[in-house]
Symmetry: C2
Subunit: 200 residues, 2 copies
């Protein structure tokens, strides 16, 4: 922004623009919106930022974000601890929980292997997964990473570690999205849907 | 979000979702992004929010947002104080300044007349504009509100107040696409609109 703008506004705009998916114009609009909020609202927004950062950390079992030592899912006795669904990020846990169909537990990797971006297995919560499995009682690990190059590579890598120690490792099914239209499906999805076809 | 999410994260997500143009999914992504920021970055974001709100207020002459009593544009001796460009919001001042073609000064209304939303002339900085003009030395007032129903109504209303007291009132040329939003116009379109302004 040009120098006729008040400096605190320029700074706030830059903070918004540094967030993912927010460009300079949106950032400017958000900064002006803040100017029109009540002081109390702005302070509670500022407090929400620092509170979330201060009080939320990884569950010591599944690595999902939580305020507690052990998250509500890991401390829920009705969940089946023998099935672990391995996901990339906490948002994926939310997505599975919305289905209300999965009764096992999760493990959040906090990323996917991506040598191009310098993300190697050591930067992910893979050690924590192995430590958890080594305590026994796990019958199946579902690799629920995205069907992308990084997601597939991560699933293959973890499967390679777990299968030799006798753990059943499965991968989410790939196929047509329910409600999707066949003519808009890409070639690879369609090929996967054909390859994994089921008896009717 | 479901109750398995940490409360401070849910609160932060709601704060982001309350901002204009940010839906629940984006808000969730932003909240998770904050979790991955350094504590220092998060604190500086929180501080930027409250600093902007605390230290930025309206220029006592043009009502644009500034940290000072009188904004840099109003206190710039090289600007022509006899031409006042009347705009809806501070973003519009930024848009005109980017053209680098306008050497007059501004007046920010902080809104447009919109009876449907309960915004009447009294809620805008119209009194301040009249007070400013009554001090003399103003030869032209350019109505640079958006080419929308509200923008036109506001321009007509202010023209109706100023013409009887002998002030020349002009309107931006409709080089702007009708129904468009001023903030998104490119510099050349905006310059043409300024150059071809017409008497009202």
């Amino acid at each position: 922004m040009a120098d006729h703008n008040a400096l605190p506004l320029v700074i706030l705009t830059e903070k918004f623009a540094a967030l993912p998916g927010i460009g300079m114009k949106s950032a400017q609009r958000l900064a002006y919106h803040v100017m029109n909020m009540d002081m109390a609202e702005v302070e509670s927004f500022a407090k929400a930022l620092t509170d979330a950062k201060k009080n939320v950390h990884c569950c010591k079992i599944c690595q999902n974000l939580t305020e507690r030592d052990v998250c509500p899912i890991c401390s829920d006795d009705s969940r089946d601890k023998s099935i672990i669904c391995v996901v990339e990020s906490p948002k994926d846990v939310s997505a599975f929980e919305r289905t209300r169909e999965f009764t096992g537990v999760y493990h959040v990797l906090h990323g996917l292997i991506s040598p191009m971006d310098g993300i190697m297995p050591d930067s992910l919560k893979v050690k924590e997964l192995l430590a958890r499995i080594s305590q026994g009682g796990v019958s199946e690990v579902i690799m629920a990473t995205n069907p992308t190059v990084e997601g597939d590579a991560t699933a293959m890598y973890i499967a390679g570690l777990l299968k030799p120690i006798g753990i059943k490792v499965t991968r989410l099914a790939f196929g047509l999205p329910v409600g999707g239209i066949l003519e808009y499906a890409d070639e690879i999805t369609l090929f996967k849907a054909l390859e994994n076809r089921n008896d009717m």
